[in-house]
């Protein structure tokens, strides 16, 4: 066998185990990393949808439960969908899970990114209505601590904000603004976090024992350490519902307006958003109750963290060029 052939064979052997070395592959930029993170969460959703529980009538009943308290025009389609799922549970749940798997694969594979992101928006809106009852925003049950305004709507928001377009890239102060522009992206942020602040102050959420019972209720079925954390947090908030809700609402309102502040303050805002979302995810949502079984997604906390990261202020192309020009001028003077 010729040396040439040996060399070629060995090269192919190495390559076969590492697609990373493909010539056409470019390392992901910040936005691509965020898109891949979204794909990871869709993949997590898909495997969660394949859980045993989802193949039982309990899944249909869970869907039906989201109709409760919603206006008839919203609730009727949910009830119809829930009945359909109860009748054809295995078939429909397999389809649902596979769709989510395909969305994850589509977002992760570059040639299908746009199609998958567009499909994920449509799918998320459908699930928001038929699977989450519009996040309970119409029935006074929404709370930022329990997943309002519905985790799945944040998937759709992320798909829009991470759309692979660079129409506004030159002046984009953060990744979320590259496709839709800074003004639109900031408005989306303001509405989302502002609505969370509003929900925190709703009567049902500011009642003395509201947060206590909400968090204590998450402990059921969780591993001991997480149940302990939840119970401890719940006891700290016992009879402190109003004060805790006000503090939470103020923090959420600060976050909502923070993206309009200068870059250092905006960074502090994003850090605060990540911390608040993490606290909600751990204490209020118990990691989406994934560890207890029966969860269909990781709930809103993880997605809010991802959303916040997309707003991390970075130098715009224009400001980077100006900085480079200043540095050049100083160097010339020196």
């Amino acid at each position: 066998m010729s040396d040439i052939a040996v060399a070629g064979g060995e090269a192919a052997r190495r390559d076969s185990a590492s697609v990373a070395t493909m010539d056409s592959w470019r390392p992901p930029d910040a936005r691509r990393v965020l898109q891949l993170s979204l794909a990871v969460i869709w993949l997590l959703d898909a495997v969660l949808q394949y859980q045993s529980f989802m193949f039982t009538k309990g899944f249909g009943q869970m869907l039906a439960g989201t109709a409760s308290g919603n206006p008839g025009v919203v609730a009727s389609p949910i009830n119809w969908d829930a009945r359909l799922v109860e009748q054809h549970t295995v078939l429909l749940n397999t389809i649902f899970a596979t769709i989510q798997l395909l969305l994850a694969v589509g977002i992760a594979w570059r040639p299908t990114l746009r199609v998958a992101l567009a499909a994920s928006i449509a799918w998320a809106l459908g699930v928001w209505w038929f699977g989450e009852g519009l996040g309970e925003v119409l029935n006074s049950g929404a709370s930022p601590v329990n997943g309002a305004p519905g985790a799945v709507i944040i998937y759709a928001l992320l798909a829009v904000l991470l759309w692979p377009s660079d129409r506004h890239a030159a002046a984009a102060p953060f990744a979320a603004a590259r496709a839709v522009g800074a003004q639109v992206a900031r408005a989306v942020w303001l509405v989302l976090w502002g609505s969370l602040a509003y929900f925190a102050l709703m009567p049902g959420n500011r009642a003395p024992q509201a947060l206590n019972s909400m968090i204590a209720g998450m402990a059921s079925g969780e591993p001991g350490w997480l149940a302990g954390l939840d119970n401890h947090a719940a006891s700290l908030l016992a009879h402190q519902g109003l004060a805790a809700s006000v503090v939470l609402a103020v923090a959420l309102a600060l976050i909502a307006v923070g993206v309009y502040l200068p870059r250092p303050a905006a960074r502090a805002t994003v850090v605060l958003a990540i911390v608040v979302a993490a606290v909600i995810w751990v204490f209020g949502e118990a990691f989406g109750t994934i560890l207890a079984g029966g969860a269909t997604d990781p709930n809103s906390g993880l997605l809010l963290i991802l959303l916040a990261v997309t707003y991390w202020p970075t130098p715009t192309a224009a400001s980077a060029a100006a900085a480079a020009q200043r540095a050049g001028a100083e160097e010339a003077r020196a």
Partner: protein, 267 residues
């Protein structure tokens, strides 16, 4: 409350296919003297495929649980050592981009699944995990320390997504993806060049090398005749398909998704 058995059957079949592909890759790669290669990765995939098929479907159980414990402990240590060696050259970057890091995570996840398994599945005859389908009416196996399982799920999903991100699109089949520097100089002879071209047309990078090897094995013919192409392309392309980066990535992706699924239904 059981996962439908047909889903487990399909996944078990996929895992057996991964095992078969990995075995084929080991044979097709023909280890050479002085070559370190990536045989360890194919061996790992072969063993994981067999083990996971047995976990998914009781009738496919092969080895006692204790043996699998030992195998995956050794495998985890081996890939840990490989990652350590890699990190000496590349630093912490190997955690996200390392060649052996995904295999360390896969091995550790397998070890975790076997070690953390709780009583229901272990209560069988001790021969294995008894499958997840519950065909014998046993309760669904569950795992201790579910938060570790959750961390593995996220990690596995991340590597699946990274693998998918690196897969070239169909438009790259005849583009720069195949014009590899390591192979460019290897297409010196006219026959080899023709074979390489036929392999490229087949859509695999390793096909270039496979066809070159085939040409050399055929006696180093350099006349680019159609008969030679036809003869060489058949076996060369089979090798090419097995050794292609897409086959390797496909195995990793299938394994990662299946492993994440198994962890989810057991935690």
């Amino acid at each position: 409350m059981m996962t439908p058995s047909w889903i487990l059957d399909i996944l078990a079949a996929v895992m057996l296919l991964v095992a078969a592909i990995s075995a084929g890759r080991l044979v097709a790669a023909r280890p050479r003297a002085g070559s370190t290669g990536d045989a360890d990765i194919d061996i790992a995939h072969l063993l994981m495929g067999i083990a996971m098929a047995g976990m998914l479907v009781a009738s496919l159980t092969t080895l006692p649980r204790g043996v699998w414990d030992a195998i995956f402990a050794v495998m985890t240590a081996w890939f840990g050592w490989r990652v350590y060696r890699e990190s000496r050259g590349e630093g912490a970057r190997v955690l996200a981009d390392g060649h052996h890091m995904p295999h360390l995570v896969h091995s550790a996840a397998m070890l975790y699944m076997f070690v953390a398994l709780t009583a229901p599945a272990a209560a069988g005859n001790g021969a294995g995990m008894s499958g997840m389908g519950g065909s014998s009416g046993m309760a669904m196996p569950t795992l201790n320390a579910p938060v570790v399982g959750f961390a593995f799920i996220l990690w596995l999903a991340a590597y699946v997504v990274l693998d998918l991100d690196r897969l070239p699109g169909p438009g790259h089949a005849h583009g720069s993806y195949f014009a590899r520097p390591a192979l460019a100089g290897a297409t010196a002879g006219a026959g080899s060049a023709s074979l390489a071209a036929s392999a490229v047309a087949a859509g695999t990078n390793a096909g270039v090398a496979g066809a070159q090897d085939q040409a050399a094995a055929d006696g180093g013919h350099t006349a680019g005749g159609g008969g030679l192409l036809a003869t060489a392309s058949r076996s060369g392309l089979a090798r090419a398909l097995l050794l292609s980066p897409r086959a390797a990535a496909g195995c990793r992706i299938a394994m990662g998704v299946t492993m994440a699924f198994m962890l989810v239904i057991m935690i």
